[in-house]
Amino acid sequence: MARIDVRKTYKLYIGGAFPRSESGHSYEVTDSKGKFVANASLASRKDVRDAVVAARKAFGSWSSRTAYNRGQILYRIAEVMEDRRPQFEEAVRQSEGVSAAVARGQVDAAVDRLVWYAGWADKLAQVIGNANPVAGPYFNHTAPEPTGVVGVLAPQSSSLLGLVSTVAPVIVTGNVAVVVSSYERPLPAVTFSEVLATSDVPGGVVNILTGDAVTLGPWLAAHMDVNAIDLCGVAGDPELATSLEVAAADNLKRVRRAPDAEPDWAEEPGLSPMTAFVEQKTVWHPIGV
């Protein structure tokens, strides 16, 4: 008799733990052909708030880590992900309806992207920071610092590579993230959260909510303890994107605007995903004997 498989319960990832939605709601996730795959937790407004609290709590310690240490942890995420490639390939294939070969390419690119960002941890400040030759006897330098809690509306289409490409630049620079996954393709994000939980990423640094950016986005955009927001997940819905920008203005969140359409995630990202969520701090001190 064939063995009956043990199925996974897909849950949220908040503060390093895997709770169900406090609302008790879930939603049906289907594969690209419409076949039932799982019930994912449907994150609520309260889950967003819990995630922001967890993220804020994690920010002090994560932002104070050395850049070298953050780089090592990002590299560790890549290592653990590499180890679970078959599982991610299956999840991407199922979610995106692509061939096994294409799915494999997406997973490879996602792992490679993490490695790419891992290397940026201790180099970004050297590339975008400055010693400033002011007209006086002062030591003066400018260096980037993380902006704080960043809300990420992850891409709807690219369920893994797009997710990794929006989360990695946020955390490598010392920010913490509250992520809303792709609504229709959330399962790779849940598996990614399991990787995070076993990769020395402190609880709360990345929080992943499966659910609808259309309903969760406004709460995240209006939350007064969120410092910045990436609107990629509402690409193609300019009306919603505009209303989220308006809400974000309440505490002058740094906004990474929604593109007209999802970008080609295979391209090298450049610096802008990182510079969108850093502040530049300038420190002065007199020079004298």
Partner: protein, 478 residues
Amino acid sequence: MAFEYAPAPESRSIVDIKPSYGLFLDGEFVDGRGSSFKTVNPATEETLAEIAEASDADVDLAVRAARRAFRGWSRMSGKERAKYLFRIARIIQERARELAVLESIDNGKPIKESRDVDVPVVAAHFFYYAGWADKLAYAGLGPNPQPLGVAGQVIPWNFPLLMLAWKVAPALACGNTVVLKPAETTPLTALLFAEICQQADLPPGVVNIVTGAGATGQAVVSHPDVDKVAFTGSTAVGKAIARAIAGTDKKATLELGGKAANIVFDDAPIDQAVEGIVGGIFFNQGHVCCAGSRLLVQESVADEVLARLKRRMGTLRVGDPLDKNTDIGAINSREQLERIRELSDIGEAEGAERWAPACDLPSSGFWFPPTIFTGVTQAHRIAREEVFGPVLSVLTFRTPAEAVEKANNTPYGLSAGVWTEKGSRILHMASQLRAGVVWANTFNKFDPASPFGGYKESGYGREGGRQGLAAYLKEAGA
């Protein structure tokens, strides 16, 4: 024994204020289509001139002129654009005294500040960004960075000419053209700057100046053909701008309010710290977004620091802005004076103790004595809200962690000060303070090469330095 100072007024004969001014559009001064308003000398309440209030139609003309000029200006080689900016820097130096006197008359700031800080830094700013114009490919912003287009710039009244320079110099260096609105109460140096643009033979339309109040500013910011908004002013207006440009492609830099902590540790050199506290809050009558308006002093030295601070405050001379000995000039407007009075009264009503040195204030004009509040808690409105006047709130702390906690307990994050002899503590505090500029054992220092701007609700983007270019450039193809 107090020293007596004989009056030492700077002559105002160097400036020639016309009875009325129009708008500077497309290289010419023209009459506005709207109404007009008066600008007054805040030290005397004397009307200085009638100023045109730009209407929506005027703003539209200005934006069109800037758009027309953009084509040529953005395609001009950086080397040639640079020469115009160098010319402007030189003319500012040549006419420095005239600019300083005019700034003090229209704004109320002491001549020693306009002469020794504002105007020299203005010239330096143009000189600095002039040098960038033909080196943009080396700025680390992509191999072929491109200007954004027409920049709509709205500036405040506290450093009228300096804020103009912070906005105009990088915009022009990067190949953008500009529509600038100076503050309602301080338009005169911007209009003199327009003459300087004429003397420099700057191509018409590259700089356009529209005078007016909030409605004019709104018209500039919301004009559909403006590609970039640069604003310095209140956080409330900054938020309104962020809302107004939502859903557009407009880029924005916002330089907004602050409530800086100036933190004095028990090992600080007390006399230097007291000078830093005084400069931090009383420079420019406290009309400074990065003013050190919250003094956090370590409990063990609080009594000594306060005693020396009060003694020093007793020597500050308040009065005629054109007197070379004046330390504190006039409050810029009646409206601002009312605001300072109101918040100070609230400070007293909420239980803080108010102190100001004995100080004779002129009978006409807008004046407020240098004032400190002690016994202030973090909940007091004078510890939370930006007073934008010569009013210091004093709080105490015991440990560095408590100082950090209190310093960061504000929605603002523009600047902070740290006073201590211990190097490791300076660097620790500098890393923990959530502010865009940290001055250690100094305060209120500005330089064109040094980026300036805030965290959190103090706004976003940086002005000055290489970072200041990023606000006016995009990558080719973007």
